[in-house]
């Protein structure tokens, strides 16, 4: 097999860029900013090249690159993308330059370190999505925590230390279980294949042959780790703290990409590696997902802090994604995949908007605002637009994801119970409640706080950050085929892998 170097370039670009940042004089802050932005744009361009060369009709891994690493254990630096990971790679490379641009003025201390960590974070995230070796995946999975830890811990709010440690330990705890399961699976492979391997493609063949009881343990270890990342109710309490304390860029990446690693992991590992267990646990996990949808929405509704409200809305949104994944039919899983992208865009935009206003007023208390639609009309429009996308208004992106997920889960033979959907669909009502209520209290009514009269509307730079996101919000809403067809074949493959034992079981 011939190696394709595009993905190594994709990973090397932020790495080399990040290292080079360290050599720039720390006082040349603008140079650092422009350099960081340029690097992230180069990464974006590389990912676009991959996208245009990608063959949608082939659902398997493409752009493969393998480099033998630890030969005794058959561990290699093995990377590639399929329809699922490609979309998430694109989301990552798309959001990173925007977050750098959004931090242009809000990050004014330690700009050099910040840019370095952001690029390392990008490297870590991309690594997670392109790894085809479980050991390599694990390394990236863990390594990515470090820059995030520093981003929250250094540039965060008042309680940043508590939040960053909570974030770190929570996720670390889950990861350790996953590591045990990875080793166990690899050891199991050595008895069935005759050699120890962490090659994902080979493990895909081994996984389903693991006896059900052992498979259950492995599934739970993986699922637990991913559920923390998602976060699935009741493992979500790290999220609001991390979000509220993180700087805007951190929140955007956290919500936009990091949470997706959990749902990506479920789709990439849990379902195809442990199909029988996935099916047995699907109802239980879906119950948690549905609780998350309603619970997240209700708790979001009563928040007084704008950022916390958006953070809790993530719990609800990701609940939809998990429900879609475990409904295990084409409609629902395709919906889940598109909803991962949607959440990155909508919630990313909301966090950016909260950041924009926070930078001006230094408060996120909803009650401090009111009537600002009159003072900052462009901002008010942008906030409404992002909220409506998050609410799932048809014609915008959120609807496509939620609709497909609910449609699929309703007829799912794995869940085989319409009540999951009935309850989940009620989340549609609550989403309208908490977002419109927030919007009303911020934008409508009379101006209560005289300070708000001085508010400046969005700058050109801020609009430039949001415009690309809004374009995709409409694009996905009106013509989702562009994205759905990228992942369709891959999702079909994953479902086939799950269905084979399911059908045998039904017989």
């Amino acid at each position: 097999m011939e190696n394709n170097y595009l993905i190594p370039y994709l990973l090397l670009a932020p790495f080399i860029g990040g290292v080079l940042v360290l050599f720039i004089n720390k006082n040349k802050e603008n140079l650092i900013r422009y350099f960081g932005l340029a690097v992230s744009l180069i990464v974006f361009i590389i990912s676009l090249i991959i996208y245009f060369d990608f063959d949608n009709a082939d659902g398997g891994f493409q752009f493969l690159y393998r480099f033998s690493w630890i030969e005794n254990l058959n561990i290699s630096f093995y990377v590639g993308v399929d329809g699922l990971s490609l979309l998430l790679v694109l989301l990552t490379t798309f959001l990173t330059p925007l977050t750098l641009l959004s931090s242009w003025s809000s990050i004014d201390k330690k700009v050099k370190e910040f840019t370095f960590f952001m690029l390392m974070l990008e490297l870590g995230m991309l690594g997670v999505f392109v790894s085809l070796d479980m050991f390599l995946f694990y390394i990236f999975w863990e390594a990515m925590l470090i820059p995030m830890y520093f981003i929250i811990g250094i540039w965060g709010g008042k309680q940043r230390i508590y939040a960053s440690i909570k974030f770190f330990i929570y996720t670390m705890f889950g990861s350790l279980l996953m590591l045990v399961a990875i080793i166990w699976l690899a050891v199991y492979a050595s008895s069935s294949l005759g050699y120890f391997t962490t090659d994902l493609v080979e493990l895909y063949k081994v996984g389903p042959t693991v006896p059900k009881t052992i498979q259950n343990y492995m599934f739970l270890a993986f699922a637990f780790s991913f559920a923390i990342k998602v976060p699935l109710f009741p493992l979500h309490t790290w999220l609001p703290d991390a979000h509220v304390e993180a700087p805007t860029a951190g929140s955007v990446i956290l919500a936009g990409v990091l949470l997706k690693m959990g749902t990506y992991g479920l789709l990439r590992f849990c379902l195809p590696l442990f199909p029988q267990s996935s099916i047995s646990f699907a109802p239980a996990i879906s119950v948690l997902a549905v609780i998350g949808i309603i619970y997240g929405a209700l708790v979001a509704m009563v928040q007084k802090d704008m950022k916390k409200l958006v953070a809790y809305s993530s719990v609800a949104h990701l609940g939809f994604v998990v429900l879609g994944i475990f409904a295990m039919n084409l409609e629902a899983v395709q919906g889940a995949v598109i909803q991962m992208i949607n959440h990155g865009l909508s919630t990313g935009a909301l966090f950016i908007l909260v950041g924009v206003i926070y930078e001006r007023t230094h408060t996120r208390e909803i009650s401090e605002y009111g009537g600002i639609a009159k003072i900052v009309p462009i901002y008010a429009f942008a906030l409404l637009f992002a909220s409506l996308s998050s609410v799932g208004l048809p014609g915008l992106n959120g609807f496509i994801g939620e609709f497909l997920i609910l449609l699929g889960s309703f007829k799912s033979t794995v869940l085989n119970n319409i009540w999951f959907t009935v309850f989940a669909a009620s989340g549609v009502i609550f989403a309208a409640v908490y977002l419109l209520w927030m919007y009303q209290r911020v934008a409508f009514g009379e101006v209560k706080n005289p300070m708000m009269n001085e508010l400046k509307d969005m700058t050109k730079r801020e609009m430039l950050v949001l415009l690309p996101i809004f374009v995709f919000i409409v694009w996905i809403g009106i013509y989702p085929s562009t994205f759905l067809k990228v992942s369709e074949k891959t999702v079909r493959n994953i479902l086939e892998q799950v269905e084979t034992p399911h059908k045998a079981e039904l017989k």
């Binding site: 309490t237 009159k374 609910l406 009620s426 009303q440 009514g445 085929s481 759905l484």
Partner: protein, 645 residues
């Protein structure tokens, strides 16, 4: 022109974009208003040409689907941005763009000088865009786009004056309420769609409706689908129990009320049920439920309308009541009668609201009819058009309302039961009474307003639309003259829509054996009743005002219940809204999230911390202590070895 029907959808969108993006810079009201109404006028023109073209086609070829591009294509789901031109969608498109256009023109005068002039027109255009998607969609998902879209536009327009107070709260509250109550209905509609997809494997109208006939599906599934969809309709079309948003919708500018109440939005539920008539024909139990909900809503809302003093509020409750009639019609299987009433109602209700707007305009935003009186002298055109509309809604022949309302009442008797007819007919009397209470208190009698007000007739840009609507309210009924009067021509409107409801009627197979004599008898009763009600209203409110006051005093309790609208808002707040908000705050957020879950997480952390603090104490750094521990260890180890030997 049929093939270009999508232009009638896209033009309003274009208007929205132009005024939305450049409106604040254009500043010139004439330009903005011309663009805003122009696009709607063009959309009407295109719909009209499509109508004429369809008319020239043979009856069995009057359905055309114009597909733009694929929207969602996953598994067996395949829906497009595709518009279906047929008899039903054309009627709706003509009403929406026609009445919509008149309201737009009127708004140029009404909104003159408002600093949000451009914003207003761009929202109104978006409203029409959403509504056109709703009525022209060839599938449920696109219909839902319009369905939610009108919800959004109503949110934007009801809250248009977002810094103003409205009753006990703000206009923004009213806007939010409208959106959320609608979303509750949408939730039902979504579930209906899911069940349809699960049952029939498609969400395109033609597929679903043909499979409804072809597939062998049990009645309980049909009942459930029909019920879910109807929940959606109760939200959009303001029926019990989800009507509560509509009265508050008057918080927006008056032309918005006209648009929401007459041509768009509230008609959506009626249209949807009519569109899905074949599904409802397969679920007779739900059809009966619709008739019952319809007639109950009709009388319930009419009774509230009897005592309200806000001119727009009376009209709002009359809308709810009239929508109840439409559902009564649908529920007894008279689908085309329901649509017919939808159309005539669009004329006279738009006229009522716009006339009311003209009055409010003249009275400097004052809306309480107690402060009106004798306005005929100052607003002659408005008084006349309001009178025409009031006569039409009261069902006085030969105005349009007479034909459509009477058709529904007749079918409620012929296909339904005497009790449905009785309640419906009684509601008609109430309607005539409160409409003329409104008319007499506003335009006739003594002036009850202060000298600070100098009422004057509205400009031509407002009165001409009133006159056009008045003409429509008068003659609009002639296309639906019942057979007993028109003889061999039959009911034109009915004949036009017949192909749409052909299968439905075959399935329902209601052929009540009733005579023309019965029909004429019932008609005479309701018309005479309405006429008497008008006379009675004149007697009470014009000639002997003390009667009204005395009656209110005498039946204080009943009056209070009506005045407070049966306390429905209060009951909803106490039983649903507050428990959810308080419960989420006090229980979910403060206890479950902060104490329970986070307590567990941080608790685990503190336990580890405490234990490690204890363990750390062992690391004293004193060498003697380490030596002691080492010695003890060696001793214990030695003992162990010796004992195990």
């Amino acid at each position: 022109m049929i093939q270009l029907i999508y232009l009638s959808v896209i033009l309003p969108l274009l208007g929205f974009l132009i005024n939305g993006i450049f409106g604040s810079r254009i500043k010139n009201e004439k330009v903005i208003g011309t663009i805003g109404s122009g696009v709607i006028g063009l959309a009407f023109f295109i719909s009209l040409l499509a109508f004429i073209e369809t008319l020239s086609l043979p009856v069995d070829q009057r359905q055309t689907i114009v597909e733009l591009f694929t929207w969602l294509n996953v598994a067996s789901l395949d829906v497009s941005f595709a518009y279906q031109v047929d008899q039903l969608s054309l009627v709706m498109a003509l009403v929406v763009t026609g009445v919509g256009f008149i309201i737009h023109v009127y708004s140029i005068g009404y909104m003159h000088g408002d600093k949000g002039f451009w914003r207003f027109f761009s929202y109104m255009n978006l409203f029409i865009f959403a509504m056109m998607n709703l009525v022209l969609a060839d599938n449920f998902v696109l219909l839902f786009l319009g369905w939610e879209g009108v919800g959004l536009c109503s949110y934007l327009l009801i809250g248009f004056w977002y810094e103003r107070k409205f009753e006990k709260s703000t206009t923004a509250d009213a806007a939010k309420k409208a959106f959320i109550v609608n979303r509750i209905g949408d939730f039902g509609f979504l579930l209906g769609m899911f069940l349809i997809y699960m049952t029939f494997g498609s969400l395109n109208f033609n597929d679903v409706f043909s499979r409804t006939l072809a597939f062998n599906v049990d009645t309980s599934t049909f009942n459930l689908i029909a019920l879910f969809l109807f929940i959606g309709a109760t939200g959009k079309s303001a029926q019990i129990p989800l009507f509560v948003w509509l009265p508050d919708a008057m918080a927006g500018p008056t032309p918005v009320s006209a648009l929401i109440h007459a041509a768009t939005m509230v008609t959506a539920g009626v249209y949807m049920v009519a569109r899905c008539s074949i599904i409802y024909a397969s679920a007779p139990a739900i059809l009966t439920l619709i008739a019952v909900i319809g007639v109950l809503t009709a009388i319930f809302a009419a009774s509230i309308g009897l005592v309200q003093n806000d001119i727009k509020k009376v009209l709002a409750y009359s809308t709810i009541s009239q929508l109840g009639y439409m559902f009564l019609g649908l529920g007894v299987g008279a689908f085309s009668a329901g649509i017919f009433h939808l159309m005539t109602h669009a004329f006279f209700k738009a006229l009522l609201f716009l006339s009311a707007g003209s009055v409010i305009h003249a009275m400097h935003e004052h809306q309480d009819i107690q402060g009106y009186g004798g306005l005929k002298k100052y607003l002659p055109h408005t008084a006349l058009t309001f009178l025409i509309a009031a006569l039409a809604i009261s069902g006085i022949p030969p105005l349009s309302g007479f034909f459509s309302k009477d058709e529904i009442l007749w079918y409620s008797f012929a296909n339904g039961s005497l009790i449905l007819w009785l309640i419906g007919a009684f509601t008609a009397l109430l309607t005539a009474f409160y409409m003329f209470r409104l008319y007499f208190l506003t335009f006739e009698g003594k002036e009850r307003f202060g000298h600070d007000k100098h009422p004057h007739e509205s400009p031509k840009v407002m009165t001409i639309p009133l006159i056009v609507l008045a003409v429509l309210s008068v003659i609009g009924g002639y296309i639906g003259i019942p057979e007993i009067f028109s003889g061999e021509h039959g009911n034109l409107f009915h004949t036009w829509l017949a192909p749409i409801f052909k299968n439905t009627e075959r399935k329902l197979a209601i052929y009540g054996a009733h005579t023309h004599l019965e029909e004429i008898l019932l008609m005479t009763i309701s018309v005479a009743g309405a006429a008497l009600s008008i006379y009675f209203a004149r007697h009470v409110y014009l000639k002997n005002p003390h009667i009204a006051a005395n009656t209110a005093k005498k039946f204080k309790k009943a009056y209070n219940i009506l005045w407070n609208k049966y306390y429905v808002d209060e009951i909803y707040d106490a039983s649903v809204v507050n428990p959810i908000v308080k419960g989420s705050d006090k229980i979910l957020w403060r206890i479950a999230d902060n104490k329970l879950i986070d307590g567990l997480v941080n608790g685990t952390a503190s336990v580890v911390e405490v234990l490690s603090a204890k363990l750390r104490k062992m690391q004293t750094g004193v060498a003697q202590f380490y030596a002691l521990v080492m010695m003890l260890g060696i001793v214990i180890a030695l003992f162990w070895i010796i004992l195990s030997l």
